[in-house]
């Protein structure tokens, strides 16, 4: 295996270098004193200061955050409902159409989703603004939530729910007391996924946003079209740090809950 391990080490090193070097360069040059993004001229944090003074970016960040919180929360509720219906709902009229509508947005090009929603909003005379972006983001991210949640629902033991029903729970109680705690980690990762998808989205937001409701990606896109600027590097660094901290924290929490679950299961097995 020696020759292979050497090969594997090289491909891992090159692979991760490819994935991470661009972002490392981006972060380093956000601390550059010069306006030129490619020539190093000493350490400075002035671009972060300028960022804090840039009202347009702060306003856009606020709109983006509002949209992301609202749309991911609604999408989590709707997506969890949809997943429950798909996995546990049995047969009903139009089930095939329903599951088709859940999976189609996952593979739909963003330009088409954006165009079609915009034409709908114009058709029904809805003014474009925060509301229309929330509606658009909820629609595509609920599908992602539903895929994440239903993969958890498929693997979990249905007899637990049946036991709760036998012991006198109403279906709603059984869901709240048994099902929800078990699928909670999947629901939370669904929410996180919906949240980041919404933060990240440029194309659909460009179609559905009005002039008074510019989101951060739209602002960044119109700025970087003119070329690279250290201020955008600073903004990117802030966003990359938030995501990194978030992902590491989430994975530590899920690891801890997995360890605890294993311990509980072992104790339950010993008690029997």
């Amino acid at each position: 295996m020696n020759r292979l391990s050497w090969f594997n080490t090289v491909s891992l090193t090159l692979g991760f270098a490819f994935l991470y070097i661009p972002m490392v360069i981006l972060v380093i040059f956000s601390f550059n004193a010069s306006k030129l993004v490619t020539v190093w001229a000493g350490f400075s944090t002035k671009w972060y200061g300028e960022l804090l003074g840039n009202e347009a970016f702060l306003d856009a960040a606020w709109v983006t955050l509002k949209v992301a919180v609202l749309s991911s929360s609604i999408a989590t509720v709707l997506g969890t409902m949809a997943a429950y219906v798909l996995v546990r709902g049995g047969r009903f009229l139009g089930r095939t159409l329903f599951s088709g509508m859940i999976y189609a947005p996952l593979v739909m090009p963003e330009v088409i989703t954006g165009l079609s929603l915009l034409l709908l909003f114009i058709g029904i005379g809805l003014d474009r603004g925060v509301l229309t972006i929330v509606l658009a983001h909820t629609t595509f991210s609920m599908c992602y939530v539903s895929v994440v949640v239903s993969s958890r629902l498929v693997t979990f033991d249905k007899s637990l729910e049946e036991a709760a029903l036998d012991l006198g729970c109403s279906p709603a109680q059984a869901f709240r007391l048994v099902t929800l705690p078990i699928i909670a980690p999947a629901v939370i990762s669904g929410w996180l996924l919906a949240f980041t998808l919404s933060l990240d989205d440029l194309v659909i937001a460009s179609f559905t946003a009005g002039p008074s409701s510019t989101t951060l990606p739209i602002k960044i896109f119109s700025a970087v079209r003119l070329g690279v600027s250290p201020e955008i590097n600073a903004l990117s660094t802030v966003m990359i740090s938030i995501v990194t901290v978030g992902v590491i924290a989430a994975s530590l929490i899920s690891k801890r809950s997995m360890v605890r679950q294993q311990k509980d299961e072992q104790e339950a097995a010993r008690a029997q």
Binding site: F18, L202, V224
Partner: protein, 296 residues
């Protein structure tokens, strides 16, 4: 009643905000451009009663689709999108497979960390990851500085605003989608099968081609579709990294809508893109189903 609500709420949400918008796009693709608000004709006029509905339907035609076949711009854009998506999928596979392979061969205790390192870029903003390459690929960018420092080139290369930059951008941003399904397939692979092949006289390389690759076929197919499908309709990468010569249909649709304000043609472009996408999407679904059946 409760069950009805549980089904009806997400159902009607998707009907109203997914299916109905599509019907509207289809309808507008059959309309004509007009100097009005909204900028197309005909619009459905219920006040005229049945005659209004009849007039509406008789004014719809396939003129925009004929137009798309006559003007070179569109079919060239479709072909070049297909080509760019195909080539970049192949490169992503060539780059991603060795990484996935090495991850599956790495010590058990490293694997969760390696997985997280692959997933982390996926959570970071897509736009920022594409933007990062603008500073690297430009004339005075890091890649040119590095290559000149090495003495490989004397003059800076023009990479930004060419198709090469688009390939790099697609490979970079979609690489995690390729690595993860292949890794999942290789992780499940029974090591003893390779040992058996080697015992039976296969060289290491032929054991790889005859055993490992065929057994990771489903992962390769899933990863390739996950790169190919979004790359085909891509807008951000060609518009930031590509040049004026980069023709991709997502960009054409965007410009038709926002710059030319020709909504009927933009809608027709969308309908044809969707028709092209149906083929890989159906193949992808079939692959996923086959995989799910194989696991049972």
């Amino acid at each position: 009643m409760r069950r009805f609500l549980l089904i009806a709420v997400p159902y009607f949400w998707l009907l109203a905000l997914f299916l109905v918008p599509f019907v509207i796009v289809f309808k507008i693709s059959l309309s004509d451009i007009a100097l009005a608000i909204p900028p197309y004709t005909p619009t459905l006029d219920f006040s005229a009663g049945w005659a209004g509905v009849r007039a509406f339907f008789s004014a719809l035609d396939f003129e925009n689709f004929t137009w798309l076949t006559q003007d070179d711009l569109y079919w060239k854009a479709y072909l070049s999108s297909l080509w760019i998506a195909l080539i970049s999928t192949a490169i992503t596979l060539a780059v991603g497979y060795p990484i996935a392979y090495a991850m599956a061969r790495a010590p058990e205790e490293w694997r969760p960390t390696l997985m997280m390192l692959v997933i982390l870029p996926f959570w970071t903003s897509f736009l920022i990851r594409v933007y990062a390459w603008m500073g690297i690929l430009s004339q005075e960018g890091f890649l040119n500085q590095f290559l000149m420092w090495l003495g490989i080139i004397n003059e800076p290369l023009t990479i930004l605003n060419t198709n090469t930059a688009v390939y790099i951008g697609i490979v970079y941003t979609y690489l995690p989608f390729m690595i993860l399904p292949i890794y999942a397939a290789l992780d499940r692979l029974d090591e003893s099968l390779i040992e058996a092949a080697e015992d039976l006289g296969c060289s290491r390389l032929s054991a790889f081609w005859l055993v490992t690759v065929p057994l990771s076929r489903n992962g390769i197919a899933a990863g390739s579709f996950l790169v190919f499908i979004p790359a085909l309709g891509e807008f951000v990468i060609p518009s930031l990294l590509g040049g004026s010569g980069t023709l991709m249909i997502g960009k054409v649709l965007w410009e038709e809508f926002f710059s030319n304000r020709d909504w009927p043609v933009a809608s027709a472009v969308a309908i044809i893109l969707l028709a092209i996408l149906v083929i890989p999407i159906v193949l992808f679904q079939r692959n996923q189903q086959k995989q799910a059946e194989a696991e049972q």
